[in-house]
Symmetry: C2
Subunit: 163 residues, 2 copies
């Protein structure tokens, strides 16, 4: 790996957002799922950064955009986006993140920087395999796997604003 992954370097983030929204529209059309304005707005807000955002963060952002919504609105939108594979819930943060592998059949692993809070989603087959093997060794039928790594991203290791 020569270059840092996207969240860790400055990049044309507008392009990230545009791409994510375009992919979402395509996917939802293909799945006969309705990407309504509220849902699209929440998705767009999530993609404002590569950080995971809490439901109430999103709620506040909606409010700033003049969409006075209550918690169920945001949770319902998030449920929909998760079902469509457009958003992941980061369980150790109680927060939500745009999926960078939408449409691909995948089970993500998440590298969470405790300093800048950016999250990188990986889909390392070795990890999935190792977890699958360990489960199988115990005769356990794995249905869903959460892999979340907390640590320091490459950018934050250098710019020492942390421990």
């Amino acid at each position: 790996m020569s270059a840092s992954a996207l969240p860790y370097r400055t990049h044309n983030h507008s392009a990230c957002i545009r791409q994510a929204l375009a992919d979402a529209r395509t996917l939802c059309r293909a799945n006969n799922a309705r990407l309504t304005p509220t849902r699209e707005q929440v998705l767009e807000l999530i993609w404002r950064s590569h950080k995971a955002l809490g439901a109430y963060d999103l709620l506040a952002m909606l409010a700033e955009e003049g969409h006075r919504a209550a918690p169920p609105t945001v949770y319902r939108a998030l449920d929909f986006l998760q079902r469509q594979g457009l958003v992941h819930r980061i369980t150790s943060l109680n927060a939500f993140l745009g999926c960078t592998h939408a449409g691909e059949q995948h089970c993500g692993q998440f590298l969470i920087c405790r300093n800048c809070r950016n999250v990188l989603e990986l889909t390392a087959p070795e990890v999935a395999l190792a977890v699958g093997q360990a489960s199988a060794d115990e005769a356990f039928v794995a249905e869903d796997t959460v892999v979340e790594v907390i640590g320091l991203c490459p950018a934050c290791q250098l710019s020492g604003n942390h421990d």
Copy 2:
């Protein structure tokens, strides 16, 4: 693996509890940490089963034992027990579990049965390795790793009270 792991079969669970409490006393003594009555009581309650228990479950159990405590009491005991490596937090359940590898330097993986809620803690080196390698590939410094697998334990696969 010929025999099922402990949580999945009937066993002398009193022995589990006694062992866990004995280990805890030894460890805390070795670390100059005070395993006070409240802390020990919470640990004992956690070990009543191989399931993960919520803080408010523990609070209710304390109440049943006549220890009328408020939330901070239980959260403080849990913080202590986690710092001593005697208890793990299962983030996807917001619940807590007695560690079956107390004293060993380890980073656990958890197999969570969605039917019976029993949790098996593994310490598979291949999993830790795969995650470590995937992180390193992104120049990410991993400090803590959460691996939680939701699925069906061997016992529940047979006795079809689920889906």
